[in-house]
């Protein structure tokens, strides 16, 4: 388990959860899963970690814990007033991503958030480049409906 691997998982988790403590918890959970299940999957290690992290974070957001650990109640209320838009964007994006297929979600996250090339994504998912491109476009089209009004802001 390299430091870079832990950092990568944290980066994905933070991007989706927008909160340090939740991202750290998610990183621990994902790395424990990694210790148990690594090597049994078809895709590469990085693809497995990315997919598992994104799915784990979406599950967490679905459960919608009302108060994040680490904040006092007053601080939370203040932040709630100030960051309602950020929270809304985060939840909408998570819900949008949860509506995609596993493959579409994996490709969209790898491309949009990690900036990987289609050939790299194809290698890590062990599929053809044209399949990756198809997943990308279909994923974006599916997301368009749920995020349309956010994009206009």
């Amino acid at each position: 388990m390299t430091e870079a691997t832990r950092a990568r998982v944290y980066q994905w988790a933070y991007r989706l959860l927008q909160n340090h403590h939740d991202a750290l918890d998610a990183t621990q959970d994902v790395l424990l899963k990694w210790l148990r299940y690594a090597g049994r999957e078809i895709e590469s290690g990085e693809a497995w970690l990315r997919r598992t992290t994104v799915n784990h974070c979406i599950d967490l957001i679905r459960k919608r814990r009302p108060i994040s650990m680490g904040d006092g109640a007053a601080a939370w209320q203040e932040r709630d007033r100030r960051r309602v838009t950020d929270e809304d964007i985060r939840d909408r994006i998570a819900m949008g991503l949860s509506g995609l297929t596993d493959s579409q979600r994996a490709v969209v996250v790898a491309k949009v958030y990690d900036g990987q090339r289609f050939t790299t994504i194809a290698d890590s998912l062990r599929v053809s480049v044209s399949t990756v491109k198809t997943h990308y476009i279909r994923g974006l089209r599916a997301l368009r409906a749920s995020l349309a009004d956010l994009g206009e802001d």
């Binding site: 933070y14 990183t27 007053a74 997301l143």
Partner: protein
């Protein structure tokens, strides 16, 4: 390029993997075709919306996860083996304590006394574990001492930037 070419090159264009020449041809068609332009614009907006979530740099991520230690949980066989050894040790200790407490005579009450002491020791061990089931389980899976400490400290200590309600409306408490 025509509309079919646009569809074929859409992923490369949106993924920023189109060569300069093809990109110019692609954009030239967008200038002429409102249908294709609307489609590309909408998908571009979707990517922008996804990027609205701020991320953290690799350096920051490494700093934040530096204290994280993830350990493999002992296998079921090892856990059962250690639990059995612990129980056996407790019963043995109980019998020895009972023997020492209730005498070394050959009558039946001493054996009974040893049994009661063994039971007490075993029960004490069970209760001790039962009081901290989450800690007991989690301690075996994950150890993250410094970050865990900092997080628990943050839970009980007020943050400097937190909004604290004014205390003027609270009646002063006398020393007595």
């Amino acid at each position: 390029m025509n509309c079919q070419d646009i569809d074929a090159h859409l992923a490369d264009y949106l993924g920023d993997e189109l060569g300069a020449g093809e990109r110019a041809a692609f954009e030239a068609h967008l200038g002429e075709c409102p249908k294709c332009r609307a489609e590309v614009h909408a998908l571009d907006g979707t990517i922008e919306a996804l990027r609205a979530l701020p991320g953290v740099s690799a350096d920051d991520a490494q700093r934040q996860t530096a204290d994280l230690i993830v350990m493999r949980r002992p296998s079921l066989v090892r856990r059962v083996m250690f639990a059995s050894l612990r129980a056996a040790a407790m019963i043995g200790l109980g019998v020895m304590l009972g023997w020492a407490t209730f005498g070394r005579g050959g009558d039946s009450s001493s054996l009974q006394g040893g049994g009661v002491a063994a039971q007490l020791v075993v029960e004490r061990g069970t209760i001790e574990r039962g009081l901290h089931p989450a800690w007991y389980k989690r301690g075996r899976q994950v150890a993250s001492a410094p970050s865990s400490f900092a997080r628990h400290l943050a839970m009980i200590a007020p943050r400097h930037d937190s909004h604290v309600a004014p205390v003027s409306n609270v009646a002063p408490v006398s020393n007595r």
